[in-house]
Amino acid sequence: MAQTLKLNLLLNLLLLLLFQLSYATLVFGSVFVQEEEFSEELLLKPLPDRKVLSHFHFESRAPPSNTHGRHHHLFPKAISQLVTKLRIKEMELSFTQGRWRYEQWGGFDPISSNNAKPPGVELWAVFDVPQSLVDAYWKNLTHTLSGLFCASVNFLESSSAYSAPEWAFRPASGNLRYGALPREAVCTENLTPWLKLLPCRDKSGLSALMDRPSVYRGFYHSQRLHLISTESDSDGVDSGIVLEQTLTVVLQPSGWKKGKSYAGKTNMQSNWSISSIFGRKVGGKCILAKSSNVYLQLDKGLVCELKDLQKENAEYGANNLASEHSFELSVNPDKVYEEMDNLHGKSTSVMYEYSVDKYIDSQPFDLGLTWKIPVVWLNQQAPLHASRFLMGSGNERGAIAISLRSTDLSEGSGSTNAINEGCELQVDIFQVVPWYIKVYFHTLQVYVNQQRRAVADVVKKIHVSPSKDKLSPGVMEMILKLPCGVQSAALTIEFDKGFLHIDEYPPDANQGFDIPSAVVSFPNSDASMHFSQDDSLKKSPLLSKFQERSRVLSYTEVLLVPLTTPDFSMPYNVLTITCTVFALYFGSLLNILRKRAGEEERLLKASKKTGRLSQLLSKLIAKLRRRPQEPLPSSPAPSSFVSHKVIFKILVVACIAVAWQYYF
């Protein structure tokens, strides 16, 4: 107890010192444009299926080291060393558990485009080194990250595990390497080192909310680390390193199950508060953070639905908020942002901002949302819903199918077709397939609206690098141009299942092998949001991140391919059989080498009277020689040509054996 107290004190002192220092630099170095800064933000968003999305966003900035030196006050040293040593331009590492459900949780907003990640580990990095050195730097990076995050990222080191996408994963990226480990399990051991990079760890501020049991109880959990460095940029625009750490969790508010009933209020959303989701409250901001905000976002679909309900129910003329009648917030927001939709001016999403600055431990911040009326809405979807699955069965061959289906259910296909005759929807697909799935790229088939099309009609650009056995995975990048009103599209590609060497099988080989998620992106659709009040938005890294132009991106499912597995006890059997064969071979060889035929015959003649066994054998041969000439005997008794003595001997031995068995 005392020790922790002491520790706490020490920490506080340290923090104070740090704060002083940073303050001093702030005052002293105000002439400089940039300084190290850290900000923390939390975004909460109710989801249509009674769950709540919470998105933590921490951003640390370090000024360029050539002007500010290499010492950091807030910025994690490990990361800055990593960046300088490995000459990273941009890097993203994500650990994910569970699947992002695009249909329910949306697929068009910045969160789903940037923070919905495939299960397991995904890592990509852009290096600022000559082409020939990229692979070496990548290997170094995987090992470093594996040590840093207690994960087996180092498995991405082997050349058969990573690939170099040219344009489909990220537009125009030179020295990019991409790798994914779908089977990596994610747990607290990965979260702790990630939290260590934050100046306040999880001791204070928003990160204190991360109660491990409740964070890992969620339906989706993705921790992500994104790094942009202009440190070694040749452009001259030097803004230092920006480290963006996000944790996206989808949680089920506790206490929902109690009141469930199936007949009646099925549409009633669940009421929640920060304390009911995390089991903790926000006790003030991290003292080192420049800004510490909590946002509550109401999705476009929800706002639209609420406005409709409002129109139906009451004659409220005011068009700004429907909140009083449909839901209630326990704390009044400090600011309200409304998204601007330049094109339509229709109802758009609403963002409530809460500043955590004014809250302290004794008076914690606990935002709660209580629904008053049942409401059902749909989140905004990506233009096409992508899913991938395996076709065929058996251990020999199969096919991978990527199916794209329009999410637009309300509009008929005919009308949209008529309107958008010339319009085209661009879809980029990037897929990596391990080498033991031998994909035949010539079998690519494309179907649009259930009609088979020639590949050249639909695929505008394709880049394929076939896999090399045990060396590199197969990579497929392609750009599809589909008509705008497309209802469904499908791509199939056939593969043969390869054989692995017995050493190459993982410990649980009978589970099957994973094909990492494919990336499907829509470059023409912009996932960013635009807010009205631009002046204050610049302060918030989260909101400015939302405003950045980014394309809509979604990941498909991980696939499990059962391969033929050998019987792993086989080496033992083979060993036994081989040894037996060798013994027989050498035995007979020795026999042949040792024996001399002439000598043997002489011996045979000599022992005709003496050797009893040989006598018996010759007798047998004589019998055999005679026998075929006779007609088959009706019941040839074997005892007739075996001497009685032998039978007697056998019987004696058998009796002894039986007696031995019986008595011992």
């Binding site: 199936y262 259930q450 589970q511 696939l559 059962p562 041969i621």
Partner: protein, 712 residues
């Protein structure tokens, strides 16, 4: 061959031991065949004694290690569903659509992803070229009428933290047209488990609940769904067809509450690779205790991994107190000879035990009889190669599946009792799903090749193949000995001939088996033709099975005569074969080809090969021209002729069928059409047994009869 060598190279050197052993066996072929055949039959009868207790081989399964979480709350909700469904039956016109909607609504309210799957039932047809081919998407395109289609309802629970690579399928057949309470009960059990599984945190694999529309048969519905799951057709006209023939149901769906209903669509929902599938059924059969019947046989005698049966059996017996059954041949239970045999084995076991208490041999008579009856049914169902339930469709896609049929002690109308019944069944299913959910790898640890002698006892492949090997072993020995015999006959008969044409003669002599081989080949060709005839016969409209059978029979005989006339050997006299050696060589070649056929069949479907060997091996070994036997006039020869005649009749496939049918079901209602129906079921299910009968068994029988009637 070896025999002549021994003769020609008199005292030069000793033969190699293995050659000598072969010579010994061949020279005593009669003894060998008698001993081996008896031992083979005896080994088969001994199998129930040698059966081992099952054990759970995969440690990860851990059945029953967690206490059941299914509570009365889920059961009462399930009860509500049952009540809602049964209340729909009062209006039979809309019951089908309404009950489907209701089930989908219930699933959707639990938070599952729901979709309908529309399918057209495919008539089982004989496709001569589609034997052994995997279920193929290309087979579907036929002209459909909008009137006949079924709609499956599928609910998918996504595992909260899982990656969705694997799925467990729970399937309940449901006939929405003429439903009663019995139809709704499996839905209740499945629903209670399903609602529990939406809440649990331990789920690692997705759960798919398939409510199969069984108005066109359970199997067809499941097979259609599996086909669309594994080999979807992206560009087809049939989907356009289904779009065209929308009936009221779809419009009804869209009308009210658009947001919720929008989720329930016809768009196919998938999950990952299937790890296992459970088919759940409920019947009421007036049992004395709550009974669980397990059906496991899939097409061509494929079985699910034994571990799946083991966990069901373990949980049902030790946790839920079910009485677990597998299929039996009931008429065997009262047979006298089996009882006597059982007593012999029991006394033998006692004697052995008195010698050494550690030796465990022999089981009580009752257990032996039960075991034999179960074994016989296990062998039979594997041998005919027709799946015993909708689980068979899963096995075609390498998914382990079994059917569980629960029959309660008391009638369902008792309300309290129904709750208990739902709880009991639900807990069993929950336990099995939880166990499979624990599985990291797919089922691979335990046996795939086994015969059951009771739900908790099995005979593995290593044991039961001994019986088959013993039965088959005399075939090559006898063939070789017959051949050697004829070779030895020639020199004595031809020694008088001049030495000039000796060279040519010896060449001709060594190739004289070719003539017989040709004859055997022709008969096998005829066999292939016979197995193709039903395809053409089934095209004839308006035919009763009896006429079909007669047509088939006549066609077969006719074609045999024609083939013999066209390809029959005018040059059989060319190499100067004596009639005596002719039949011997013919028999030798027949036996060899039969041996090859049996060995091939044992790889494809072991049980068929076993039964086939049991029927045909004695016949083919005994075959001897009747003329010779009768002419001899000795009692032994005469009895051999009688035996030959009896065996010849028994091993004729239709005769075998009628005799067995008469033995087990009584001779009263038999007509010739039954055999046609049976064969039709074989080819409709693509059973390899059909091919075996047509191309191995029947030709061999014809050749044996040919030998019997040989004019020598």
């Amino acid at each position: 061959m070896a025999g002549t060598k021994v003769q020609s190279e008199v005292p030069k050197t000793r033969q190699r031991p293995i050659v000598r052993l072969g010579v010994l066996l061949i020279s005593h072929s009669l003894l060998v065949s008698v001993v081996c055949c008896t031992a083979g039959v005896l080994a088969l009868l001994l199998l129930p004694v040698l059966a081992k207790n099952t054990y759970i081989s995969e440690n990860a399964l851990m059945p029953g290690s967690a206490s059941s979480m299914l509570s009365n709350q889920e059961v009462s909700e399930a009860n509500k569903l049952i009540k809602d469904i049964t209340s729909l039956y009062s209006k039979p016109s809309t019951a089908a659509i309404e009950s489907r909607r209701l089930i989908a609504q219930y699933m959707s309210n639990l938070g599952a992803e729901v979709n309908y799957h529309k399918f057209h039932p495919q008539p089982n047809e004989f496709h001569p070229l589609h034997f052994f081919s995997s279920p193929d998407a290309g087979m579907i395109q036929e002209n459909f009428s909008c009137a006949s289609y079924g709609v499956n309802t599928v609910g998918v629970i996504r595992a909260p933290r899982g990656d969705g690579k694997e799925a467990i399928v729970l399937m309940t057949p449901y006939n929405s047209v003429n439903g009663d309470l019995q139809e709704a009960l499996p839905l209740g059990i499945a629903y209670s488990v399903f609602s529990l599984l939406t809440q649990v945190t331990w789920l690692a694999k997705d759960i798919i609940w398939l409510v199969a529309d069984s108005q066109y048969g359970e199997y067809a519905a499941v097979a259609a769904w599996l086909r669309d799951y594994h080999t979807p057709v992206f560009s087809d006209l049939s989907s356009l067809n289904t779009e065209l023939c929308h009936d009221g149901s779809y419009i009804l769906d869209l009308k009210e509450n658009s947001n919720l209903e929008r989720k329930i669509s016809y768009e196919f929902r998938r999950s990952g690779t299937m790890a296992a599938a459970l088919v759940l059924k409920v019947v009421y059969r007036n049992e004395v205790e709550d009974t669980l019947s397990i059906f496991a046989e899939a097409s061509n005698g494929q079985m699910p991994n034994l571990d799946l049966i083991n966990i069901v059996n373990y949980l049902a017996v030790h946790r839920q107190g079910y009485h677990v059954k597998v299929e039996k041949v009931w008429s065997l239970l009262n047979s006298k000879w089996l009882k006597i045999l059982g007593e012999i084995f029991e006394s033998l076991g006692k004697f052995v035990k008195s010698l050494n208490p550690d030796w465990k041999f022999g089981i009580p008579v009752a257990e032996y009889i039960e075991g034999t009856a179960t074994l016989a049914s296990s062998l039979y169902y594997q041998a005919i190669g027709v799946p015993t339930g909708p689980h068979g469709a899963f096995r075609d896609y390498q998914v382990d599946a079994i059917t569980l049929e629960i029959s309660p002690r008391v009638s369902f109308n008792n309300k309290d009792r129904r709750n208990d019944f739902l709880l009991q069944g639900g807990r069993l299913i929950e336990g099995v799903i939880r166990s499979v959910n624990n599985l990291l790898e797919k089922f691979h640890q335990s046996f795939f090749l086994y015969l059951l002698t009771s739900p908790s006892k099995f005979v593995s492949v290593g044991v039961y193949m001994i019986a088959f090997a013993l039965l088959v072993a005399p075939l090559p020995v006898v063939a070789a000995s017959l051949y050697a015999e004829t070779l030895n006959l020639i020199p004595t008969s031809e020694k008088e001939k001049s030495a000039a044409d000796d060279e040519l003669g010896s060449v001709l002599r060594s190739w004289k088996w070719l003539n017989s081989a040709k004859r055997v080949f022709i008969v096998h060709l005829w066999g292939a033709m016979v197995s193709l005839f039903p395809y053409f016969i089934s095209q004839i409209p308006n035919c009763t099975p009896t006429t079909n059978f007669h047509v088939w029979f006549l066609l077969s005989v006719f074609s045999l005569v024609i083939l013999k006339w066209i390809l029959g050997s005018p040059f059989s006299q060319l190499c100067g074969l004596q009639p005596q050696e002719e039949w011997a060589i013919l028999k030798s070649v027949t036996i060899s080809s039969f041996f090859i056929g049996l060995c091939l069949m044992s790889v494809i479907n072991f049980a068929t090969a076993e039964i086939g060997a049991l029927l045909m091996v004695p016949t083919s070994l005994m075959a001897h021209p009747l003329k010779l036997d009768v002419r001899g006039g000795r009692f032994l020869r005469f009895s051999r002729a009688i035996c030959n005649l009896v065996l010849g009749v028994i091993s004729f496939p239709p005769a075998t069928f009628f005799i067995l049918k008469g033995m087990f079901e009584g001779y009263s209602g038999i007509n010739a059409g039954d055999f046609w129906n049976w064969v039709e079921s074989l080819w409709a299910w693509n059973s390899a047994t059909y091919l075996y009968i047509g191309m191995v068994h029947l030709p061999c029988w014809v050749l044996c009869v040919h030998v019997l009637l040989h004019p020598c």
